[in-house]
Symmetry: C2
Subunit: 450 residues, 2 copies
């Protein structure tokens, strides 16, 4: 009996159009699943997992498929468990500043709903208008505002999650503090759907900042922009976002969402500062002064519309680059913030040496650079050269004290490289944890571990 | 051969005075260890653990012994591994806002050193002038400023730690973001020294807030003080601290560190707001208005000295209560912030029903109440009655959606109760993790698990 006949009350499809649509994510990798399931409750997720456990069926949990590392892409003969129908905002607790949601809730929808009540959910991945909170939890999603406000991990308080054997777990506390037992909540956050399937998530909220100001800083020297990043943060100001785009990223965006920037701009920083209006004013002056000192042309978004236009452009960088190279490869390395200038120099050198175009943008305040290799991944020779370049980029990153992924996760694309960063003894512990949660290796197999 | 002869280059003592001094912590529990070791490097910790692993010797890691749940108290025939001599601040990285320390560094010393450079390490347990960062990591220490700034977990970026078998692990990243592999850093934080011994710790720092203001709010109605707590936070202001003391706690402190408070005060809130001077002024006005609305008499600390005096009194509550009842018992429950009034009513009822005096103070903004049972723990009958009261307090806490420990951890004192909060399936996973890290159960055995 197949899973569809065994669980007739759960919506299932094996139609080719569904298998195609649920067989890829934003990494560009693809493989057809054997079926797609849309459970509506934790109990249904539990039934699916129990059946899969007993029958050795591989289950791949999936939010909106916006991941960049193939975390939601099935291996052959896998079944997709989509959380799309579990999309309720269950309880908004204004007094305790928490919200309880199902995993299929879209990040952007949650942000809008809590902001209507004067509250704030900071994590804002570029895909925020499509990606789900469940996917954010699985990947420990970040975004521009991580600089001041941290990542998804810093907001998850409680998780209801289903183990591969079907057991329903209740983890964490609904209070601001709690130290009873090991921190299984933080262990699940960022585990890329390999340990359990989250079915309810309680998130911490903050009061909505009273005001936000955005500065656009244009540089004619890319290294100067990197130095400005470090100088701003070490001046004692933590902007809520400090984003970077190099000339090629700017040029790509100008084609689809023009800001009217000149060709002589080598790099831009988009800096946002939030807080009390009185406090912001002084911080904005100081940041502008620092950037001007590094040769930047600084302007302030005149109003909310102008600010939104800047962000629309920023969020469209990846899309703009796909229009130029539909099969590009993208990495998301992180280096300590003060090593960004060196990293940018290394990237320029590696690009020149290999002849592969590199376009860089990202969350400079975090040291998190999205490095785009402008190749055709499906062309075997280009792929081979690009793959060897990726390895050299990772080497340069690690030498500077960095990490090979700040947001995208390991998934399938980085699994071959994980040993460059994580030693064998640490990896053995991680495998041991995987085996403890998923002894039959049926939940999102093939991810993270090489 | 005993461990002393096997590792002659590591400072060791079996002198009775050392065994006594290292056999208890602030929980009041005690047991003599068989030896005390003072390693000075990660390599020496690794040697100790390897020898212990091969020879089935129980090792109990210990910071300053200020823990409240017996986490550092040895079982019989255990060896204490003191981190006192590993007390270097290795590297203060001003540009990237991080600091790398050894585990024996005292929290208060670290705070002063980073503050001298305009930086800020928020976690501030009441024992901050004695407790070590290693102990803080093991217990996931909090403190008053956790309300706005979070707990130790939120500041640990990297850990070097030694496994029970002697392997030296390097966990986490030195960058603001990183999502490569499972989050073993957060798994170790709060694991109460049962999984590995931290030997180096990299902490995140923040810019030092420009200004701080403290308000003292005196209430003649204890429930009104609880309601004020919830009203302040849901007004959109997150004070950096929002501390509570009931009448008995105030009276006890008045004896040793008088603030000159009247006998008619039923409860006080000590509220601290930090940030830009301009922003603070408005927030202080709003908070004062809210508390006045709940019947409070509100005054502002006139200067830094007055503010420090308020905190000295607050930090001496526990000490003052020990002077009254040297063998008191103390718990540290947490409830959702808006359930504090109900919890205070329950505590009054339970005290009246059992005839056991309860004194309450703590971090009201977090819903974290330190409940002190004014008994003589060493008197068998009193202990029996108190133990049954503790269970009823925990039941009332859990009914309100709370947790039985916000800061103190499980250790020995709460191990018998852990099943009230953590279900069997979750506990099995935690035991599985313990077994994975420590298959011979030699590292801090007997803690957490019943």
């Amino acid at each position: 009996m197949n899973i569809r006949d065994a669980l007739p009350h759960i919506k299932t499809s094996t139609a080719p159009e569904d298998l195609i649509c649920y067989g890829f994510d934003a990494s560009g990798l693809e493989e057809l699943p054997s079926a797609v399931l849309w459970p509506e409750t934790a109990e249904q997720v539990s039934e699916i997992m129990r059946y899969a456990y007993e029958n050795d069926i591989r289950i791949v949990p999936r939010g909106a498929g916006t991941g960049m590392s193939g975390g939601a892409v099935p291996l052959r003969d896998s079944v997709i468990l989509s959380t799309e129908r579990m999309n309720r905002i269950i309880e908004l607790d204004r007094e305790n500043l928490t919200v309880l949601v199902e995993p299929g809730v879209i990040n952007g929808r949650l942000q809008r709903e809590v902001e209507n009540g004067g509250l704030f959910y900071p994590p804002d991945p570029a895909s925020m208008n499509f990606c789900t909170i469940g996917g954010n939890v699985a990947e420990n999603a970040g975004g521009p505002r991580a600089l001041k406000y941290g990542v998804t991990r810093d907001y998850v308080m409680e998780l209801e999650a289903v183990l591969p054997n079907g057991d329903i777990l209740n983890l964490g506390v609904r209070t601001h503090k709690g130290v009873v037992g090991y921190d299984l909540v933080r262990l699940l956050v960022g585990s890329e759907g390999t340990l359990a399937v989250a079915t309810k998530i309680r998130l911490k909220l903050l009061p909505l900042p009273a005001d936000v100001v955005a500065l656009l800083c244009l540089f004619t020297d890319i290294e100067a922009s990197g130095k400005a990043v470090s100088a701003v943060v070490s001046s004692g100001i933590i902007p809520r976002a400090l984003e970077f785009m190099d000339r090629e990223a700017i040029k790509a965006v100008e084609r689809i969402q023009p800001l009217g920037l000149s060709d002589t701009v080598e790099a831009l920083l988009l800096i946002e500062i939030d807080g009390h209006p009185e406090a912001i004013r002084k911080e904005v002056e100081k940041v502008a002064e620092i950037c001007t000192g590094f040769g930047a042309d600084v302007s302030m978004a005149e109003n909310e519309n102008a600010r939104m236009r800047l962000w629309e452009s920023r969020r469209k960088v990846s899309q703009a680059l796909y229009l130029i190279r539909p099969k590009k490869m993208s990495e998301d390395i992180v280096v300590p913030r003060n090593r960004i200038p060196e990293m940018l120099v290394s990237l320029r050198r590696l690009s020149a040496e290999t002849g592969i175009g590199l376009v860089n943008f990202g969350h400079a305040g975090d040291g998190n650079i999205h490095v785009n290799l402008m190749v055709d991944r499906t062309n075997e020779e280009e792929y081979r050269k690009a793959d060897s370049l990726v390895k050299r980029i990772f080497e340069a990153t690690l030498v500077l004290g960095g990490t090979i992924s700040g947001e995208h996760g390991v998934g399938l694309t980085k699994a071959p490289y994980i040993g460059m960063e994580i030693k064998q003894s640490e990896l053995n512990l991680m495998r041991g944890i995987k085996n403890l949660f998923d002894p039959k290796n049926i939940l999102n197999p093939g991810k993270i571990f090489p």
